[in-house]
Protein backbone atom coordinates (compact mmCIF):
# COMPACT_ATOMS: atom_id res chain seq x y z
CA UNK A 1 0.00 0.00 0.00
CA UNK A 2 1.39 3.36 -1.00
CA UNK A 3 1.63 6.32 1.22
CA UNK A 4 -1.87 7.24 2.40
CA UNK A 5 -0.74 10.78 3.04
CA UNK A 6 0.13 11.19 -0.63
CA UNK A 7 -3.21 9.80 -1.69
CA UNK A 8 -5.00 12.23 0.58
CA UNK A 9 -2.98 15.08 -0.87
CA UNK A 10 -3.83 13.96 -4.39
CA UNK A 11 -7.52 13.68 -3.65
CA UNK A 12 -7.68 16.94 -1.72
CA UNK A 13 -5.44 18.76 -4.18
CA UNK A 14 -3.24 20.10 -1.42
CA UNK A 15 0.31 21.30 -2.15
CA UNK A 16 2.97 18.61 -2.21
CA UNK A 17 6.62 18.48 -1.25
CA UNK A 18 9.22 18.04 -3.97
CA UNK A 19 9.64 14.36 -3.16
CA UNK A 20 5.88 13.79 -3.18
CA UNK A 21 5.65 15.57 -6.50
CA UNK A 22 8.31 13.26 -7.91
CA UNK A 23 6.44 10.28 -6.55
CA UNK A 24 3.29 11.49 -8.29
CA UNK A 25 5.22 11.81 -11.56
CA UNK A 26 6.32 8.20 -11.21
CA UNK A 27 2.75 7.12 -10.57
CA UNK A 28 1.60 8.96 -13.68
CA UNK A 29 4.32 7.25 -15.70
CA UNK A 30 3.02 3.89 -14.52
CA UNK A 31 -0.47 4.82 -15.72
CA UNK A 32 0.64 5.78 -19.22
CA UNK A 33 -0.60 2.48 -20.63
CA UNK A 34 -4.21 3.56 -20.11
CA UNK A 35 -3.78 6.80 -22.05
CA UNK A 36 -4.37 5.29 -25.53
CA UNK A 37 -7.81 4.12 -24.44
CA UNK A 38 -9.00 7.71 -24.32
CA UNK A 39 -6.77 8.83 -27.18
CA UNK A 40 -8.37 6.34 -29.55
CA UNK A 41 -11.91 7.54 -28.91
CA UNK A 42 -13.60 8.69 -32.05
CA UNK A 43 -14.57 12.35 -32.38
CA UNK A 44 -17.91 12.85 -34.09
CA UNK A 45 -17.72 14.77 -37.34
CA UNK A 46 -20.30 17.57 -37.26
CA UNK A 47 -23.11 17.42 -39.79
CA UNK A 48 -23.28 19.70 -42.81
CA UNK A 49 -26.38 21.41 -41.44
CA UNK A 50 -24.50 22.19 -38.23
CA UNK A 51 -21.66 23.63 -40.23
CA UNK A 52 -23.86 25.68 -42.52
CA UNK A 53 -25.69 27.10 -39.50
CA UNK A 54 -22.32 28.03 -38.02
CA UNK A 55 -21.24 29.61 -41.30
CA UNK A 56 -24.37 31.74 -41.33
CA UNK A 57 -23.68 32.93 -37.80
CA UNK A 58 -20.07 33.70 -38.65
CA UNK A 59 -21.13 35.60 -41.74
CA UNK A 60 -23.55 37.68 -39.66
CA UNK A 61 -20.73 38.46 -37.24
CA UNK A 62 -18.34 39.43 -40.03
CA UNK A 63 -20.78 41.57 -42.04
CA UNK A 64 -22.28 43.64 -39.23
CA UNK A 65 -19.20 45.47 -38.02
CA UNK A 66 -18.06 46.25 -41.57
CA UNK A 67 -21.37 47.84 -42.50
CA UNK A 68 -21.46 49.75 -39.27
CA UNK A 69 -17.98 51.07 -39.69
CA UNK A 70 -18.48 52.12 -43.32
CA UNK A 71 -21.77 53.81 -42.47
CA UNK A 72 -20.19 55.43 -39.48
CA UNK A 73 -17.27 56.88 -41.42
CA UNK A 74 -19.32 57.98 -44.43
CA UNK A 75 -22.02 59.64 -42.34
CA UNK A 76 -19.44 61.22 -40.07
CA UNK A 77 -17.50 62.65 -42.98
CA UNK A 78 -20.64 63.92 -44.69
CA UNK A 79 -21.90 65.57 -41.52
CA UNK A 80 -18.57 67.30 -40.95
CA UNK A 81 -18.44 68.52 -44.55
CA UNK A 82 -21.99 69.89 -44.38
CA UNK A 83 -21.25 71.62 -41.11
CA UNK A 84 -18.12 73.29 -42.47
CA UNK A 85 -19.95 74.35 -45.64
CA UNK A 86 -22.84 75.76 -43.66
CA UNK A 87 -20.43 77.68 -41.49
CA UNK A 88 -18.90 79.38 -44.51
CA UNK A 89 -22.18 80.03 -46.31
CA UNK A 90 -24.31 81.26 -43.43
CA UNK A 91 -21.70 82.93 -41.30
CA UNK A 92 -22.78 86.65 -40.86
CA UNK A 93 -20.19 88.88 -42.48
CA UNK A 94 -18.90 91.44 -40.08
CA UNK A 95 -19.18 95.10 -41.35
CA UNK A 96 -16.00 96.68 -42.52
CA UNK A 97 -14.55 98.66 -39.74
CA UNK A 98 -13.39 102.27 -40.29
CA UNK A 99 -10.13 102.21 -38.52
CA UNK A 100 -9.81 106.04 -38.46
CA UNK A 101 -13.20 106.45 -36.81
CA UNK A 102 -12.25 103.99 -34.19
CA UNK A 103 -8.97 105.64 -33.59
CA UNK A 104 -10.29 109.23 -33.41
CA UNK A 105 -13.45 108.63 -31.43
CA UNK A 106 -11.79 108.32 -28.07
CA UNK A 107 -9.64 111.37 -28.79
CA UNK A 108 -12.70 113.50 -29.63
CA UNK A 109 -14.31 112.51 -26.37
CA UNK A 110 -11.23 113.47 -24.50
CA UNK A 111 -10.61 116.86 -26.18
CA UNK A 112 -14.21 118.22 -26.08
CA UNK A 113 -17.00 118.83 -28.59
CA UNK A 114 -16.49 117.74 -32.12
CA UNK A 115 -16.20 120.09 -35.06
CA UNK A 116 -19.84 119.61 -36.04
CA UNK A 117 -20.99 120.31 -32.50
CA UNK A 118 -18.96 123.50 -32.29
CA UNK A 119 -20.31 124.69 -35.65
CA UNK A 120 -23.89 124.03 -34.58
CA UNK A 121 -23.42 125.83 -31.27
CA UNK A 122 -21.81 128.79 -33.04
CA UNK A 123 -24.76 129.00 -35.37
CA UNK A 124 -27.19 128.93 -32.45
CA UNK A 125 -25.35 131.71 -30.66
CA UNK A 126 -25.34 133.85 -33.77
CA UNK A 127 -29.01 133.23 -34.27
CA UNK A 128 -29.81 134.21 -30.67
CA UNK A 129 -27.83 137.39 -30.87
CA UNK A 130 -29.63 138.37 -34.03
CA UNK A 131 -33.02 137.72 -32.45
CA UNK A 132 -32.27 139.86 -29.38
CA UNK A 133 -30.99 142.77 -31.44
CA UNK A 134 -27.64 142.60 -29.92
CA UNK A 135 -26.02 141.90 -33.08
CA UNK A 136 -25.20 144.79 -35.34
CA UNK A 137 -26.13 144.24 -38.85
CA UNK A 138 -24.77 146.96 -41.15
CA UNK A 139 -27.47 148.55 -43.34
CA UNK A 140 -26.29 149.07 -46.85
CA UNK A 141 -27.89 152.60 -47.23
CA UNK A 142 -27.23 154.19 -43.78
CA UNK A 143 -23.64 154.92 -44.49
CA UNK A 144 -24.50 157.15 -47.47
CA UNK A 145 -24.89 160.90 -46.53
CA UNK A 146 -26.50 161.87 -49.81
CA UNK A 147 -29.56 159.80 -48.89
CA UNK A 148 -30.58 162.53 -46.28
Amino acid sequence: MKDQELILKIVRETPMTASESLELDELLEAQVTSAPLVGALHDPEPSLSWRSALNEELLKCSVKPKRRSVTFWVSGFAATAVAVLALFVFMPHAPKVDRTAISTAPLAKQTGPSLEESLVSAHHEADLETGMGVSWTPEPNSSRPDSL
Binding site: K9, L28, L37, A40, E45, P46, R51, N55, C61
Partner: protein, 210 residues
Protein backbone atom coordinates in the same frame (compact mmCIF):
# COMPACT_ATOMS: atom_id res chain seq x y z
CA UNK B 1 -14.38 -1.26 -35.20
CA UNK B 2 -12.43 1.92 -34.79
CA UNK B 3 -8.97 0.44 -35.17
CA UNK B 4 -6.22 -0.48 -32.75
CA UNK B 5 -5.63 1.28 -29.50
CA UNK B 6 -3.34 4.24 -29.99
CA UNK B 7 -4.09 4.57 -33.67
CA UNK B 8 -5.72 7.93 -34.10
CA UNK B 9 -8.21 8.73 -36.74
CA UNK B 10 -6.56 11.05 -39.24
CA UNK B 11 -9.88 12.65 -39.92
CA UNK B 12 -9.99 13.75 -36.30
CA UNK B 13 -6.51 15.26 -36.28
CA UNK B 14 -6.26 17.80 -39.01
CA UNK B 15 -3.25 19.66 -37.73
CA UNK B 16 -2.13 22.70 -39.62
CA UNK B 17 1.36 24.10 -39.40
CA UNK B 18 2.01 27.07 -37.17
CA UNK B 19 2.67 29.52 -40.01
CA UNK B 20 -0.59 28.68 -41.76
CA UNK B 21 -2.45 28.93 -38.48
CA UNK B 22 -0.93 32.34 -37.72
CA UNK B 23 -1.82 33.63 -41.18
CA UNK B 24 -5.38 32.40 -40.81
CA UNK B 25 -5.65 33.98 -37.37
CA UNK B 26 -4.42 37.30 -38.78
CA UNK B 27 -6.96 37.15 -41.58
CA UNK B 28 -9.73 36.12 -39.21
CA UNK B 29 -8.94 39.10 -36.98
CA UNK B 30 -10.01 41.24 -39.92
CA UNK B 31 -13.36 39.45 -39.74
CA UNK B 32 -12.55 37.22 -42.70
CA UNK B 33 -15.14 34.47 -42.26
CA UNK B 34 -13.60 32.35 -44.99
CA UNK B 35 -10.21 32.25 -43.27
CA UNK B 36 -11.86 31.47 -39.97
CA UNK B 37 -13.76 28.68 -41.72
CA UNK B 38 -10.44 26.93 -42.30
CA UNK B 39 -9.69 27.15 -38.59
CA UNK B 40 -13.13 25.68 -37.92
CA UNK B 41 -12.35 22.86 -40.36
CA UNK B 42 -9.23 21.99 -38.41
CA UNK B 43 -10.78 22.05 -34.94
CA UNK B 44 -14.50 21.40 -35.27
CA UNK B 45 -14.41 17.63 -34.69
CA UNK B 46 -12.07 17.90 -31.72
CA UNK B 47 -13.97 20.73 -30.10
CA UNK B 48 -17.28 19.00 -30.68
CA UNK B 49 -15.84 15.75 -29.32
CA UNK B 50 -14.62 17.48 -26.19
CA UNK B 51 -17.87 19.37 -25.63
CA UNK B 52 -19.92 16.25 -26.38
CA UNK B 53 -18.10 14.37 -23.61
CA UNK B 54 -18.35 17.25 -21.18
CA UNK B 55 -22.11 17.65 -21.59
CA UNK B 56 -24.65 14.91 -21.46
CA UNK B 57 -27.05 16.20 -24.06
CA UNK B 58 -26.00 15.94 -27.70
CA UNK B 59 -28.21 18.85 -28.71
CA UNK B 60 -26.68 21.00 -26.03
CA UNK B 61 -23.20 19.96 -27.15
CA UNK B 62 -23.92 20.98 -30.74
CA UNK B 63 -25.12 24.39 -29.53
CA UNK B 64 -22.12 24.91 -27.30
CA UNK B 65 -19.67 23.83 -30.01
CA UNK B 66 -21.15 26.47 -32.31
CA UNK B 67 -20.94 29.01 -29.54
CA UNK B 68 -17.25 28.20 -29.06
CA UNK B 69 -16.43 29.15 -32.63
CA UNK B 70 -18.68 32.20 -32.67
CA UNK B 71 -17.11 33.48 -29.46
CA UNK B 72 -13.66 32.76 -30.83
CA UNK B 73 -14.41 34.63 -34.04
CA UNK B 74 -15.79 37.61 -32.17
CA UNK B 75 -12.95 37.62 -29.65
CA UNK B 76 -10.00 37.02 -31.95
CA UNK B 77 -8.94 40.65 -31.51
CA UNK B 78 -8.30 39.84 -27.86
CA UNK B 79 -6.29 36.70 -28.67
CA UNK B 80 -2.74 37.83 -27.92
CA UNK B 81 -0.96 34.68 -29.07
CA UNK B 82 0.62 34.01 -25.69
CA UNK B 83 -0.97 30.58 -25.75
CA UNK B 84 -1.68 28.44 -28.78
CA UNK B 85 -4.91 28.77 -30.71
CA UNK B 86 -5.79 25.24 -29.63
CA UNK B 87 -5.37 26.12 -25.94
CA UNK B 88 -7.45 29.23 -26.43
CA UNK B 89 -10.25 27.36 -28.22
CA UNK B 90 -10.36 24.63 -25.60
CA UNK B 91 -10.36 27.23 -22.83
CA UNK B 92 -13.45 28.81 -24.39
CA UNK B 93 -15.02 25.37 -24.77
CA UNK B 94 -14.20 24.44 -21.18
CA UNK B 95 -15.63 27.69 -19.80
CA UNK B 96 -18.81 27.36 -21.83
CA UNK B 97 -19.26 23.77 -20.67
CA UNK B 98 -18.87 24.83 -17.05
CA UNK B 99 -21.38 27.64 -17.54
CA UNK B 100 -23.83 25.28 -19.16
CA UNK B 101 -23.35 22.65 -16.44
CA UNK B 102 -23.96 25.20 -13.72
CA UNK B 103 -27.11 26.34 -15.44
CA UNK B 104 -28.37 22.81 -15.77
CA UNK B 105 -27.20 22.02 -12.21
CA UNK B 106 -25.86 18.57 -12.56
CA UNK B 107 -25.46 18.09 -8.84
CA UNK B 108 -22.57 16.25 -7.22
CA UNK B 109 -21.12 15.19 -10.55
CA UNK B 110 -19.88 18.68 -11.21
CA UNK B 111 -18.69 19.84 -7.83
CA UNK B 112 -17.34 16.85 -6.04
CA UNK B 113 -13.83 16.00 -7.17
CA UNK B 114 -13.41 12.82 -5.22
CA UNK B 115 -16.99 11.63 -5.35
CA UNK B 116 -15.85 8.83 -7.61
CA UNK B 117 -13.67 7.48 -4.84
CA UNK B 118 -15.87 7.89 -1.80
CA UNK B 119 -17.55 4.54 -1.83
CA UNK B 120 -15.10 2.51 -3.82
CA UNK B 121 -12.32 0.17 -2.91
CA UNK B 122 -8.85 1.68 -2.25
CA UNK B 123 -6.98 3.02 -5.26
CA UNK B 124 -4.75 0.70 -7.18
CA UNK B 125 -1.79 2.50 -8.65
CA UNK B 126 -0.79 0.04 -11.30
CA UNK B 127 -3.59 -2.09 -12.52
CA UNK B 128 -2.08 -5.31 -13.87
CA UNK B 129 -5.35 -7.04 -14.59
CA UNK B 130 -5.26 -5.94 -18.22
CA UNK B 131 -2.75 -4.87 -20.79
CA UNK B 132 -4.06 -2.01 -22.96
CA UNK B 133 -1.47 -2.54 -25.66
CA UNK B 134 -3.00 -5.87 -26.42
CA UNK B 135 -6.51 -4.56 -26.55
CA UNK B 136 -8.47 -4.04 -29.67
CA UNK B 137 -10.54 -0.91 -29.46
CA UNK B 138 -13.84 -2.41 -30.42
CA UNK B 139 -17.20 -0.73 -30.18
CA UNK B 140 -17.95 -2.37 -26.88
CA UNK B 141 -14.75 -1.20 -25.25
CA UNK B 142 -15.16 2.31 -26.57
CA UNK B 143 -18.61 2.36 -24.98
CA UNK B 144 -17.04 1.27 -21.69
CA UNK B 145 -14.44 4.02 -21.93
CA UNK B 146 -17.14 6.59 -22.71
CA UNK B 147 -19.13 5.32 -19.72
CA UNK B 148 -16.09 5.64 -17.51
CA UNK B 149 -15.59 9.20 -18.71
CA UNK B 150 -19.22 10.03 -18.05
CA UNK B 151 -19.11 8.57 -14.56
CA UNK B 152 -16.17 10.64 -13.35
CA UNK B 153 -16.38 14.19 -12.07
CA UNK B 154 -16.22 16.98 -14.59
CA UNK B 155 -12.88 18.20 -13.27
CA UNK B 156 -11.24 14.81 -13.73
CA UNK B 157 -12.86 14.31 -17.12
CA UNK B 158 -11.59 17.66 -18.40
CA UNK B 159 -7.99 16.93 -17.51
CA UNK B 160 -8.12 13.38 -18.81
CA UNK B 161 -9.58 14.46 -22.15
CA UNK B 162 -7.15 17.33 -22.60
CA UNK B 163 -4.12 15.20 -21.73
CA UNK B 164 -4.86 11.77 -23.13
CA UNK B 165 -7.16 12.79 -25.98
CA UNK B 166 -5.80 16.17 -27.05
CA UNK B 167 -2.16 15.46 -26.17
CA UNK B 168 -1.83 18.67 -24.19
CA UNK B 169 1.03 19.09 -21.74
CA UNK B 170 0.55 19.79 -18.04
CA UNK B 171 1.35 23.49 -18.44
CA UNK B 172 -1.06 23.86 -21.32
CA UNK B 173 -3.84 22.16 -19.39
CA UNK B 174 -3.12 24.29 -16.34
CA UNK B 175 -3.50 27.38 -18.53
CA UNK B 176 -6.69 26.08 -20.11
CA UNK B 177 -8.39 25.06 -16.88
CA UNK B 178 -6.78 27.82 -14.80
CA UNK B 179 -5.39 25.61 -12.02
CA UNK B 180 -1.81 24.91 -10.86
CA UNK B 181 0.24 22.25 -12.64
CA UNK B 182 0.29 20.11 -9.48
CA UNK B 183 -3.49 20.06 -9.47
CA UNK B 184 -3.51 18.97 -13.10
CA UNK B 185 -1.24 16.04 -12.24
CA UNK B 186 -3.37 15.06 -9.25
CA UNK B 187 -6.53 15.13 -11.31
CA UNK B 188 -4.95 13.20 -14.15
CA UNK B 189 -3.80 10.55 -11.76
CA UNK B 190 -7.27 10.19 -10.23
CA UNK B 191 -8.95 10.20 -13.64
CA UNK B 192 -6.70 7.46 -14.97
CA UNK B 193 -7.16 5.41 -11.82
CA UNK B 194 -10.91 5.72 -12.29
CA UNK B 195 -10.63 4.73 -15.94
CA UNK B 196 -8.40 1.74 -15.13
CA UNK B 197 -10.79 0.49 -12.52
CA UNK B 198 -13.80 0.85 -14.81
CA UNK B 199 -12.13 -0.87 -17.75
CA UNK B 200 -10.52 -3.45 -15.46
CA UNK B 201 -13.94 -4.39 -14.10
CA UNK B 202 -15.26 -4.72 -17.61
CA UNK B 203 -12.35 -6.93 -18.69
CA UNK B 204 -12.66 -9.09 -15.59
CA UNK B 205 -16.34 -9.64 -16.27
CA UNK B 206 -15.61 -10.33 -19.95
CA UNK B 207 -13.02 -12.96 -19.01
CA UNK B 208 -15.40 -14.47 -16.51
CA UNK B 209 -18.06 -14.65 -19.20
CA UNK B 210 -15.71 -16.53 -21.54
Amino acid sequence: MNGLVGVESLANRRHMDAATEQALVAQSRRQDAEAFGKIVDAYQARVLGFVRRMLRSEEEALDVAQEVFIKAFQGLARFDGRCSLRTWLFRIAHNLCIDRSRRVDRGPDFNSLDSSFDDEEPLEFADTRWDPEMLVMNEELSVVVEEALGSMSEKLRTVLLLHDKEDMGYEEIASTVNVPVGTVKSRLFLARAHMQKHVGDYLASARGGV
